[in-house]
Amino acid sequence: MNKPLRRIAIFCGLLVLALLIRDNYLQYVKADELAGQKDNRRVAIERYAHPRGDIIVDGNPITGSVESKSGDFKYRRTYKDGPMWAPVTGYSSQAFDANQLEKIEDGILTGNDDRLFFRNTLDMITGKPRQGGNVVTTLNAAAQKAAYDGLKSRGGKGAVVALEPSTGKILALASYPSYDPSSFSGNTNTDAKNWNKVQKKNDPADPTLNRALRETYPPGSTFKVVTAAAALENGLYKSADEKTNSPLPWIMPGTTTPLKNEGNIQCRDVSLREALRLSCNSVFGKVGSDLGNDKMLEEAKKFGFDAEQFTPVRSNASVFSDNMNKSQTALSSIGQYNTAATPLQMAMVASAVANDGKLMQPYMVDELQSPNVDPVEKTQPKELSRPLSPANAQILQGMMETVVKSGTGTKAQIPNVVVGGKTGTAQHGVANSANPYAWFISYAKLPDGSSPVAVAVVIEDESANRDDISGGGLAAPIAKNVMNAVINSKK
């Protein structure tokens, strides 16, 4: 009986061998794949096992981590002034994942980023607990507060974006109404309730929408800055004070309709400066129509239209249409028809003009830090395009400064500071029935000629009556406060 017995012994050995091979396949070949699958709860457990790194503004963290009382996720995210900073931070929730900076820089914040590998290995050897790195933002706390408080005191919906023109640093990024990401950062029923409360289906005000980056509004008259830039760049007019040779009323080509101005303003044959000061639709409509769709589109693209911006949080692409006839181009050139822009986009327009025609890539992450605050990556300012020559930029600056000195934007004046701006009141809704959006874009210039801040403010105010809404009345004071906050924080 020994011969079959030995064979059985071999057979049992093969059974064990099969198990060994399977185990090597499972725990060596497939190990990383299995360990990293998103349904594998260990991924989430590990993610919340250590205090998350912080998002930092002006040297102070605007986020924190606390130990949860229940469940298998150890640490929960907290936010300081959550609603104010939500458009910057996004949220990080145990139950609802994360978005915006919290999602994009998750690797650094959790400490799992490859760039932290060496450090993590050292920590593992020395037995130090794992820590997350920090994300240092470009934001300015005072400007953000001015922006958020300004929107909040108005009470309607709106957004503010402030940029540093010379670098593209985002100084303020506010959206109202907002939400507190702390309220659903955990994994409990309360968190789920708070999460549901702020979803668009339960709250028509849509507080989780980041209006500064993700909502496009018809820019209205603020778009005339782009049209003016196109006119100068294409040599349609050589200076701001040249007569534009524009009739009033101006009949849109191919139609019998005159392009109307708001109110009874004197726009016949005025200069570009005067047309911008008074916000003449007829003049800029004609400029757009004369330049044509292609040239207008080209200039708009140079200002950043038709492209998503990655700050690194993505912004929606702003729109200037192609394949339009002359009357459509005319309407588009005064910020109506299909033209739509994010608040970020209009801040970029003001910033490019203020920066002598050079548009910088907007960004909000200044530096990524390892847990012991060593820099991991520093963002260098990057030029995006040159929508204007320095000479033309200075002409346009003069025009925008006239708007604030004696035009529609007088409410943005700051003593001892040169301010250039443009108001906008954009119509929307079926047959323009809804309340228009109030816009204001502006920049401030210090005595040394440098420009520390460019701002775009948009307010959609459904409670105010239609006549009250004008960029100069509602949006300009907020822009002024934001610019003031930036200037004061520089001192």
Binding site: M1, C12, L15, L20, D23, Q27, A31, R41, R42, D72
Partner: protein, 483 residues
């Protein structure tokens, strides 16, 4: 004790273990390690989970040491020539199993489940009963050949044990498999674990008597010796019983285990390869046939083929009338997350398996916390137990002992394969438990009894023959040393 270990004469020409040392001191030394390793593991779990050495460390160490000591003394007294590896290996596995069960008792997630009760104290009690069972086997079973007398009683007992879970009011359907009985006051029992041993006794006794008839009366056809029609009877009966188990108890593992054990013993008894071929064909036909209409088996097979889909189904409300379970996917994740070296004791998340984490799926906790390295070691320990059992079968001098040892070792190997293969996704999951590691009284008791019987057979096999006949050839070449 080791009076023979330094015997002056060496009968080099005599086959067998004459003059062989008893190896009891080797066993004792190995047992020290088999107790020390789980004690360190226990301390490690405590440090990892609560940052301090568990309060019960001393009691646990002493308890396990005492049990191992009792078992060792029983072997020393009643089976002095037994294989020295079996007891330490079984003790090591049992000890590590206790550690992991205690470790899972500490899981907040498992504690929050309904009907949670700490399992480690009860497992320790079962271990004590298991050692008592082991000692009882050694004390009362002076010679394994006695069991031969009970061949047909064994058959009857085995059938009763297998049918018990189907008795209304006694059987319990747990997660679709009806392999349990509920005894009031005692908890659940898995009679299949005991049936395994009793059936091995029956097969060994039966085949020893019938093997010549089964082996010799056959025709040759295409290189195979085909048995006569009427000799096919026994294998058909066992096959039919296995199929019935599969259909009524819906447990693929038990069914496979019994049929596989019978085929192995039949092959060893008759030395006819054709039995293996027949066995494989019949089990394939049986498994596929039953799976074609038994939804529970189909669910298991589908879960095996696509564990991820099953996981997703388990998280939604389905109306297909099937209980979807995420256990297999959770088990695979546990293994995968363990990686090469594992997370370390107490630092894994195998509690995510929830139901049966410390019984059917206990191996996954080892996989996650000890990693590939640990699992390979565990599998080799199991392999070593099986091979020591087969070594015992080789050394056994009586056919009944040979058959019984190969049957028990083979069943043990099949069980390890079916369970470990199931939780690692190599084959469909079955409702059996990893011997010695898993929580459960029946399993611990039955497996200690199994080791007891193997030790008894190996003691008989390795015992020096009484007063060996002098070999004239040997004497002629003997060197006479001046003393």
């Amino acid at each position: 004790m080791s009076s023979t270990s330094n015997s002056p004469t060496h009968h080099t020409s005599t086959i067998g273990a004459i003059g062989a040392p008893s190896r009891r001191n080797t066993e004792l030394a190995l047992l020290v390690f088999a107790v020390a390793i789980p004690v360190f593991a226990y301390a490690n779990v405590g440090l990892a989970i609560n940052s301090h050495v568990p309060a019960g460390l001393l009691e646990y160490g002493l308890g396990l040491g005492l049990l191992a000591g009792v078992a060792h003394l029983a072997v020393r007294k009643f089976a002095p020539y037994a294989d020295p590896l079996l007891l330490p290996l079984a003790t090591l596995l049992n000890g590590l199993g206790l550690v992991v069960i205690w470790r899972l008792d500490q899981s907040r997630l498992l504690q929050s489940l309904p009907h949670f009760a700490p399992s480690a104290p009860r497992q320790l009690l079962y271990t004590a009963l298991g050692i008592a069972m082991f000692s009882a086997v050694l004390i009362f079973l002076k010679d394994h050949r006695v069991l031969q007398r009970y061949t047909y009683i064994s058959m009857f007992c085995a059938l009763v044990l297998l049918i018990l879970p189907l008795v209304p009011g006694l059987g319990a359907d747990i997660y679709g498999a009806k392999i349990w009985i509920r005894v009031p006051g005692l908890g659940s029992l898995q009679p299949g674990e005991f049936a395994k041993i009793v059936l091995a006794i029956f097969f060994a006794g039966y085949l020893m008597v019938k093997r010549d008839a089964l082996a010799l009366a056959s025709r040759r056809f295409m290189g195979l010796y085909l048995p006569r029609g009427r000799d096919l009877g026994p294998i058909l009966v066992v096959w039919a019983i296995s199929i019935l188990i599969l259909v009524f108890e819906t447990d693929l593992g038990t069914s496979l285990l019994f049929f596989g054990m019978f085929v192995i013993m039949l092959y060893v008894a008759t030395e006819r390869t054709s039995w293996i071929v027949f066995g494989l064909l019949m089990s394939a036909v049986g498994a596929v046939g039953v799976a074609s209409f038994e939804s529970h088996i189909q669910t298991r097979v589908n879960a095996w083929l696509n564990p991820m889909r099953e996981y997703q189904l388990s998280r939604q409300i389905t109306h297909d009338g099937v209980l979807h379970s995420d256990q297999l996917q959770q088990s695979l994740w546990a293994f995968g997350s363990g990686g090469t070296l594992g997370t370390g004791w107490g630092q894994g998340h195998s509690d995510l398996i929830k139901f049966a984490a410390n019984s059917d799926f206990v191996f996954a906790t080892f996989g996650e916390e000890l990693g590939l390295a640990g699992i390979m070691a565990m599998l080799l320990i199991y392999g070593l137990i099986v091979e020591r059992g087969l070594r015992t079968a080789l050394a056994a001098r009586d056919p009944f002992g040979k058959l019984l040892a190969v049957g028990l070792s083979g069943a043990f190997a099949l069980q390890v394969f079916v369970v470990a293969g199931g939780v690692m996704g190599l084959i469909p999951l079955t409702g059996m438990t990893m011997p010695f590691l898993a929580y459960g009284g029946s399993s611990v008791l039955a497996n200690w009894a199994l080791i007891g019987i193997l030790i008894r057979i190996s003691d008989t096999a390795r015992r020096p023959a009484p007063t060996p006949a002098t070999n004239p050839d040997a004497e002629m070449t003997q060197v006479v040393r001046p003393s």
